[in-house]
Symmetry: C2
Subunit: 324 residues, 2 copies
């Protein structure tokens, strides 16, 4: 809402939905954005609504054909123009100063850009991310990469947004400075354990595990704030942290994959994680072990959620406005 009030009433309002995915929820999010523009216009007693141009972005590998097939129906109930702008949001996606509002509704755990993402391989033995057995420089390497990539993300959006343009993004975060004690890092630790169990039975080579690090990072609220301040293009209008409960996890999983009606939290979490990261594991470990890996992982996650029923994820939602 606030995002629209802050931009001077334009004739055309361009909204760039980053990481739109291709599930049924993609256009629900767009619909929310359109409704918000309409209600603000009413509130401000504006006679005519701006034309709304939705630019949907995701990686070129996204299934855009499926998404495009649903545009005509959607436009009948929501008058707007919809285009698709494929590409990585760590690079420029739109011409300079052409975007009014940029929501990133479901940012996955921050994926590092390019192959340089994860720390040097072979030095984080038995882990696939930061864990309590990781040497200190692993956290340091991940943090540095986060700062570099997140800053690049902000810089690109600042170039694309109009003066006063706004951005809202939600990302998987952590509450504690020490990443090894909670949430997403414990999930990844269990994934490493599933792999190590398979290694102990000769199904996977230990060296393969040692040389693999997930290109994901879950920052603290302080890290996000500092990164935004350091980059300098945006003022933070609000930032809040919240736990993602069962319902949200299900909604998110439903976007990426079919989830059975009576699925457990563990099953939903694993399905969602598999949909989002399987290609990374396949290219490193081979497709043939995927079913077994994720079955073992699912069992470990069942145990985890029986001990920590609230052991879901933490998210940060930030609303920022361009200041220069």
């Amino acid at each position: 809402m606030e995002a629209f009030k802050n931009t001077s009433s334009p004739k055309v309002m361009t909204i760039a939905d980053l990481g739109c995915s291709s599930g049924p929820n993609t256009l629900v999010a767009v619909s929310d954005a359109i409704d918000a523009v309409e209600s603000v216009c009413k509130e401000l007693n504006q006679k005519s609504l701006p034309e709304i141009h939705i630019m949907l972005n995701d990686l070129p590998s996204n299934d855009f054909n499926g998404l495009i097939g649903s545009f005509e129906d959607f436009k009948r109930s929501h008058p707007c123009f919809i285009s698709v702008a494929p590409g990585s949001f760590y690079g420029r996606l739109f011409p300079t100063q052409t975007i009014h509002f940029c929501p990133l509704f479901h940012m996955p755990p921050l994926a590092f850009s390019g192959s340089s993402g994860a720390p040097k391989t072979g030095l984080n033995k038995g882990n696939v991310s930061i864990s309590k057995t990781s040497p200190p420089f692993v956290l340091e390497a991940y943090t540095k990469q986060f700062e570099r990539d997140f800053s690049q993300f902000l810089k690109c959006r600042a170039e694309e947004l109009i003066h006063d343009g706004c951005m809202v993004f939600t990302l998987v975060a952590r509450k504690d400075e020490d990443p090894s004690v909670e949430g997403i890092y414990l999930h990844w630790e269990l994934l490493a354990q599933a792999l190590m169990d398979m290694a102990s039975q000769g199904i996977v080579e230990t060296e393969k595990i040692d040389s693999f690090n997930l290109p994901f990072y879950a920052p603290t609220s302080k890290e996000v704030k500092n990164a935004i301040k350091r980059e300098g293009s945006f003022a933070i209008k609000s930032i809040r942290m919240f736990d993602v409960g069962w319902g949200e996890a299900r909604d998110h999983a439903c976007e990426h994959c079919k989830v059975e009606e009576n699925a457990t939290t563990a099953q939903i979490t694993v399905k969602s994680m598999r949909a989002g990261s399987e290609s990374l594991f396949v290219s490193h470990f081979g497709a043939e072990i995927m079913d077994e890996l994720f079955e073992r992982y699912s069992s470990l996650m069942e145990g985890y959620f029986s001990m920590y029923p609230d052991g879901g994820l933490t998210n940060i939602c930030a609303f920022v406005q361009k200041i220069k």
Copy 2:
């Protein structure tokens, strides 16, 4: 070239490529447009090139995934932003006054919008388009529909183009007032003959043929000029008619379908036509007769081209500029 000189030097130049298709030639056309902008900027001694935003349009049924997969490579050699805007160009595709230049490189024989396109069924017996045995009102109905649809096309583009914005389009046309004597209409007459031959052998019902009319129209140069003047949004900067030779026919066919190295003109023409219109025939006559229909059509076309080696198509290329 002229199109770029006529628009005041903007920071961002948005080029809407209508009917982009998904073949290898799609980005060749875009590349030509980018080169043209660059050479004009050099000619005008402009210090900095504008950012170029390419909006690729085609019907939602187009294979956009395939096209999108080639963007990254293309952008490496041609710095630009590329988006995809699916939809019918008989309706609005882009927000008001946001497009600088609108090329329509390969307009197919003008396809009527919606199902109301072709004349009332059952009154054009033994034909699938205008032919010498068609009653006069058939030409009249086709002409009216062309005027309505083409005017709608121009109106939408006029709303989308900036002041002074330009459009170039090429469409299949006819030289003679009487459509039954040349080019594309003779091609369609032979298609009707292939269907009637099948009807005489009981493979197709005659009523099915009588109730089918192709939603295509090939206007004369005069009709195009009059339609542009009547609609009123554009000034004609140039308009010319030209015959499409063997090379162009091959190029065009290559965009839509694989063509063998030693294919005859007839084979290429039929393949291209089949790719562009088969879905219309399938929904009316059923998929099962398609192979036989187009084989018979191909034989008739071989005969046609042996009699008229230059019996290709006529095109109109018009360059227009928005005047209000």
